[in-house]
């Protein structure tokens, strides 16, 4: 029951702030709503007993990425942009198509839930108390089975770093 309440709370917050993020005129507001949505997602992670990710989400996403966003928003002068129309002309069509997409995928989820033999594994998740300590498990996996992705991720981040530097630095 608690699970349920928690889930619906976080889900509601996430969706609402996501909607607000997309619709706000002011970019800074959007950023803040994105932060809210990400935090709510972190809550979902917690509810799913993924504590490590919960922390990562808050620190890396909210703490890191979003600060980056805010910096950039500050850097590029947005006073002008504020007065401009924020939405593309196609917004209504886009909405329709996006809803169609949502409908399709949603229907697929729905039908797989209802019909046997239609996909999603119907099984009860392992009891919470049987789950091993999350951080430990993740760490084991990360440096065990997923060592290579970890190494690649370092290259990826290196590339991102070089890229950001190359792109953002002023020309000498």
């Amino acid at each position: 029951m608690l699970d349920k309440i928690l889930f619906y709370f976080f889900a509601g917050v996430a969706v609402a702030s996501a909607v607000l993020m997309v619709t706000r005129r002011n970019v800074v507001h959007s950023a803040i709503f994105l932060i809210t949505a990400l935090l709510a997602t972190a809550g979902i992670f917690l509810q799913l007993r993924a504590e490590f990710l919960f922390i990562v989400q808050i620190i890396l996403y909210v703490g890191g990425i979003m600060v980056l966003f805010i910096f950039v928003i500050m850097l590029v002068n947005l006073d002008v942009a504020l007065q401009q129309i924020q939405f593309a002309r196609q917004k209504w069509v886009a909405l329709l198509v996006a809803l169609a997409l949502a409908g399709q995928v949603g229907l697929m989820f729905w039908s797989s839930r209802k019909m046997p033999g239609q996909g999603l594994p119907v099984l009860t998740a392992a009891a919470a108390e049987h789950l091993p300590a999350n951080s430990e498990e993740v760490a084991k996996s990360l440096f065990g089975s997923y060592l290579l992705p970890f190494e690649i991720a370092s290259v990826l981040l290196l590339v991102a770093m070089i890229g950001a530097v190359v792109m953002a630095k002023k020309r000498t």
């Binding site: 699970d3 349920k4 889930f7 889900a11 969706v15 996501a18 993020m21 997309v22 970019v27 950023a31 994105l34 949505a37 990400l38 997602t41 979902i44 992670f45 799913l48 993924a50 490590f52 990710l53 989400q57 990425i65 980056l68 966003f69 950039v72 928003i73 850097l75 590029v76 947005l78 002008v80 942009a81 401009q84 129309i85 924020q86 939405f87 593309a88 886009a94 996006a98 949502a102 989820f109 594994p121 392992a126 999350n134 498990e137 993740v138 084991k140 996996s141 990360l142 089975s145 997923y146 992705p149 991720a153 990826l156 590339v159 991102a160 890229g163 950001a164 530097v165 792109m167 953002a168």
Partner: protein, 100 residues
């Protein structure tokens, strides 16, 4: 945990909102944020499945996706800055030099 469908629909909602942001917003920064939202939706899926199977692979995947999101954000924002320096705009539809 709740039935997996809950998480799937939540993730779908965020995904769709992200997609909508990408296709409707003119401000490229918001577009980039919407993409972050999409990746976030992916993470919810991954973590939910991970919980379902009691398998951490999904969580690890989500971790890497967060890293990727960070990298993309960094590069994307860098490019936005370079673009802004040259063009004094962050509106997507003012990218109009390259066309037919």
């Amino acid at each position: 945990m709740l039935p997996i469908g809950h998480y799937l629909f939540l993730s779908l909602a965020l995904f769709i909102i992200g997609v909508l942001g990408v296709v409707t917003r003119r401000n490229v920064i918001v577009v980039l944020m919407s993409i972050e939202l999409i990746l976030n939706a992916v993470n919810i899926n991954l973590v939910a499945f991970s919980r379902l199977y009691g398998d951490v692979a999904g969580q690890v995947f989500a971790l890497f996706i967060i890293a990727d999101a960070a990298a993309e954000a960094a590069v994307g924002l860098g490019i936005i800055i370079a673009f802004f320096r040259n063009r004094e705009t962050v509106l997507a539809d003012e990218m109009d030099l390259l066309k037919w």
